[in-house]
């Protein structure tokens, strides 16, 4: 999850991409807080996430799992990972979180300047920042930056560069459309913060630029 601060892409694209974490702290507010987390998850659904997963039921938003099943799975210590694709939604979400006042840590990953504005609009004063100083080391071994726009939406590197290329090939050859391809790419992400809406836009932009090879 830490890796959400390292999502790559253009500023225009990252403006439609805000990962949000609901995170009780072990030893501080785990015990007896399941219902508080559940209330926050109800708000998550109310605002309309682009994707989400609860640590207690590792099925993403597009797996067919029903909200009731996710809510019923929430217990003490449950953590929830979600992503939103608009500034209006994230502002609304944070306002509702503030009003709900459940005492559970909330983290937003996104463009610093935008989050600053959104926090002010929601009446929040953020506490701590985790800055990314980028990739260090043998960067020549990395896949190209346009492929990393997709792969870095999964912090644990479960969305492989070859799968991105395979989906681009399938989009170009008409085997899947850009939304279907994005859902395939979202599936390996065990944290549910792969944003298929952003992915769809990137596939539409990129598919014309790639040659059709095996991958």
């Amino acid at each position: 999850m830490t890796h959400s601060l390292h999502r790559e892409g253009t500023i225009e694209s990252l403006e439609k991409d805000y990962a949000v974490f609901i995170y009780p702290a072990r030893g501080y507010n785990y015990k007896g807080k399941g219902l508080n987390v559940r209330r926050l998850v109800e708000i998550v659904y109310q605002v309309g996430p682009a994707n989400m997963i609860a640590s207690t039921l590792r099925e993403n938003l597009y797996s067919g799992v029903q909200p009731e099943a996710v809510l019923d799975s929430i217990k003490d210590g449950a953590r929830v990972y979600t992503v939103y694709n608009s500034r209006d939604k994230i502002r609304n979400l944070l306002k509702l979180f503030k009003e709900a006042d459940q005492g559970i840590s909330i983290v937003v990953s996104g463009l610093i300047d935008r989050v600053r504005d959104i926090a002010a609009e929601a009446g929040l004063n953020p506490h701590t920042i985790n800055l990314s100083l980028g990739i260090q080391g043998a960067t020549h071994r990395l896949p190209p930056a346009d492929i990393r726009q997709f792969t870095t939406m999964c912090g644990h590197a479960q969305v492989s560069p070859n799968l991105v290329k395979d989906i681009i090939r399938k989009v170009k050859t008409g085997k899947v459309d850009t939304w279907e391809g994005s859902l395939i790419l979202a599936k390996p992400c065990a944290c549910g913060i792969y944003n298929p809406h952003r992915s769809q836009e990137m596939l539409e932009d990129m598919s014309s630029q790639y040659m059709v090879t095996r991958w």
């Binding site: 601060l5 702290a25 807080k33 590792r58 953020p126 701590t128 920042i129 260090q136």
Partner: protein, 241 residues
């Protein structure tokens, strides 16, 4: 991960799912290169094999091979921390725990990220450099801590050195005055690495999501830059236990 050759029909559907490019054709069947495989389980979870030929043999849960699983499969829970993921709760709960408090900065070295993974020998290059410079103050609950043989030298347990993991996070909290020295140590070790890491700096914010000037000045003066996106704790948590 292993492919049952008796069952495999050679369709190759599993191959693009592998983040390590460990699955390839051999005699028209898919096989997993055991040296390269991180045991992340991505191919199995994808459920694309039409004949259920992919399976996890029991030995992947035996030490030292098990370290691949715990550090590469986000669905597995590390025994030491009880946390899914490769780090601890770090900045995500800092409004409650204040693990990184006034006058301090947190530093996270996300080894192997993004995508490439890292061998333990490369990780040892980093831990040795940190230890020999007096900066190896790894969080006790950090999963990487379980790999360490000697905190004074930074040596990792020798039986682990041939293993490789998709991601691990070396997390430390230090007094802010020590940040320049720590960044200088990392700059020296970077050219020696065969893989990559991502670098994070954690700090308390001033009012209005203002990043302390000292932290930004140190980052710039040591030749690093910060990216336009970041992970931000919104300050809504509180302790109740």
């Amino acid at each position: 991960m292993i492919v049952n050759k008796e069952l495999c029909v050679g369709c190759g559907r599993c191959q693009p799912y592998c983040p390590a490019e460990a699955i390839h054709y051999e005699d028209q069947k898919s096989v997993v290169d055991q040296d390269i495989c991180f045991e992340c389980g991505t191919c199995l979870r994808s459920e694309v094999c039409p004949v259920d030929a992919l399976f996890e043999p029991l030995h992947i849960y035996e030490y030292p091979r098990a370290i691949r699983k715990f550090f590469s499969d986000p669905a597995s829970t590390h025994k030491g921390t009880g946390i899914q993921g490769r780090g601890t709760e770090e900045s995500k709960t800092n409004d409650v725990t204040l693990r990184c408090g006034p006058g301090q900065v947190g530093v996270a070295i996300e080894v192997g990220r993004p995508t490439l993974g890292m061998g333990l020998r490369d990780i040892q290059e980093i831990t040795r450099a940190l230890a020999q410079s007096g900066y190896f103050e790894i969080e006790p609950n950090n999963p990487v801590n379980s790999m360490v043989l000697n905190h004074e030298t930074g040596d990792l347990k020798p039986e682990l050195l041939d293993e490789r993991i998709l991601s691990g996070i070396i997390e430390m909290t230090i007094q802010k005055e020590r940040l320049p020295g720590l960044l200088q140590v990392l700059k020296k070790v970077i050219p020696e690495l065969g893989s990559v890491f991502m670098l994070d700096v954690v700090t308390l914010l001033e009012d209005g999501l203002t990043i302390p000037a000292y932290v930004l000045d140190v980052i710039k003066s040591e030749g690093f830059n910060w990216r336009p996106n970041a992970k931000i704790n919104m300050g809504l948590g509180r302790a109740s236990e």
